[in-house]
Symmetry: C2
Subunit: 336 residues, 2 copies
């Protein structure tokens, strides 16, 4: 194997608020040969997810925080360059926690081999990957919408949100999305078939929820927290299910989280609020991926990857998640 | 029937914060003869409950608010004075929403006839009444503690809380109570058999929860809200269940509820927070009351009514719920 050079983004400092370029170091080093049991992978596409903000905070969470000087954690897809594991051949496509970098040698047991052609790889980070499984199991297993019920999702144009509303519709529920900006709202209703969309930047969310959810909200799938969560709680139907999937409005202010003032609506409405972490469902991913793939093939489910090109664009691309600039699943294309 | 005179507490003004004597009017009027289908009842014991604060707030809740000039709503037990309903005879004991007053003529269908002797009546407002059923179904149906798990209850010396901790213990769980003052804490551990008690007035609740719940909290039964709820959320075990039964720390400040800043612990801990209203379980009350009565008889469950005498003491007695002066179930004895 010729000597390969890896460029990697490492955590240089922990951000207090929004992470910016000063919190990252772009380092260059030779790619180590894969050891016994390892596979060397060239990274092609990296998934940029709101959860990344949590991974760089120095606090206990469902996974250990990324350490200073460590390569930034990321889910990615790539192709095998060389392998010391039976079953992985150069040219194979794989996914795993490959990190924000160009090459990595990892334990073969941490990789999933992917079938299908190269053009399908971004989907493996979206509708058929973690965001897709988050939407699928979070909505169907925790939210449990029934036909005719009303599902509201925040961050509706994002990587998870745009799938949640469509799955709700496929299952016979009404879907209402909350997103930022008229273009995103148009995209939700006209391109994706949401029943209604609320532009939180120009509308009063509470008033619009009253208008679009006359019988209340049966399932609220929350990606943003803050005032949006409070507005939804105020509009819950009896026995509503609130799925807490994320809180992107709060991630950059971890020491002063705004708790939901309207949480007593849970009592008044006999409702439930549940935290959802997709890793609880790993054993059921094949089931979810199979159903999602079927809907994609039939055209019932549409997906959209927002692709930013070039590893060096990582710090800026990550910010798009917090400013709401991306529409659909945000992916960083490193090569390929 | 000789002309009877009724004294009643009516809502005179809606309190902004803590309700005080100026918000009540003590009125006197003749007791109307019962109409067709009605029963005239002499009120003996009135249940004073935190939920009363919600009933006098001018906001939507699980029941309509008490109107100005209306007799204050209250669950009570009494004896039949005269009846125009078959099956109710003078001297029978009954329970129902009789109001904060001495006599009332009500529709017979709104009354429950009680067996047992007069000395058992306060129990019908406590362990065998709404607080008992709240503790029983809230803990066992929503909290679902398993043997060996840790149950934490706030407002632990109150009408519901002192039962929750004991039911947890009977079911094989560890029970930790949070209450105000050393005497209450002594009562919980020494008299009622709680495994530990935390005095929120003199201890750091978060530090004490760490000490007494080394493996985290599996079930948190919340009666108080505010900082106590946040401290408990910070200490949840994986897959914990949080039962929101009340929020007495917040009831007198309804326009500025402190939302739980630590609600994202639900996500990190894969946990659920559910609002509990006992009226959802009306059809299963006989089952709950039967089991509670058995535990009372066997001595496994101890209960304690804090009885205040005299109708005119209502405004002041109600305040005890908010200052935490009562220990056990607070009952106003009107007669008998």
């Amino acid at each position: 194997m010729p000597e390969l050079v890896n460029r990697a983004f490492r955590l240089a400092a922990r951000p207090e608020g929004v992470p910016s370029s000063e919190h990252w170091a772009l380092t260059t080093e030779p790619v180590p040969e894969p050891g016994e049991g390892q596979v060397c992978v060239r990274v092609l596409y990296i998934s940029l997810d709101p959860a990344m903000r949590g991974w760089i905070a120095d606090r206990e969470s469902y996974v250990a925080p990324v350490q200073i000087d460590e390569v930034m954690r990321a889910i990615a897809v790539g192709e095998v360059v060389s392998s010391r594991v039976e079953g992985f051949e150069p040219g194979d496509h794989v996914s795993g926690l490959l990190g924000v970098q160009e090459y990595v040698s990892v334990d073969g047991r941490a990789l999933t081999k992917l079938e299908g052609d190269r053009s399908q790889l971004p989907l493996r980070l979206g509708a058929l990957g973690m965001p897709g499984m988050t939407a699928y199991f979070g909505l169907l297993d925790i939210g449990r919408p029934e036909p005719g019920q009303t599902v509201v999702v925040s961050g509706a144009a994002g990587g998870v949100g745009h799938l949640v509303g469509q799955i709700a519709r496929i299952k016979g529920a009404r879907s209402v999305g909350i997103a930022g900006g008229q273009e995103k709202c148009r995209y939700l209703t006209e391109d994706l078939g949401f029943d209604a969309a609320i532009d939180y930047k120009s509308e009063n969310v509470g008033a619009s929820l009253r208008e679009h959810c006359p019988d209340g909200i049966d399932v609220y799938f929350d990606n943003v927290g803050g005032e949006t969560l409070d507005a939804a709680l105020a509009r819950l139907a009896r026995h509503a299910r609130v799925v807490i999937c994320g809180a992107i409005s709060q991630y950059n202010n971890p020491d002063d989280i705004a708790g939901p003032k309207n949480y007593l609506a849970l009592l008044v409405r006999h409702a439930t609020m549940t935290g959802f972490v997709v890793t609880d469902y790993v054993s059921r991913w094949p089931e979810g991926a199979r159903e999602m793939a079927g809907w994609l093939q039939s055209g019932e489910l549409k997906t959209h990857e927002h692709v930013v090109k070039g590893l060096e664009g990582f710090p800026e691309a990550l910010l798009m998640l917090f400013t709401g600039e991306n529409s659909g699943k945000l992916v960083l294309q490193v090569a390929g």
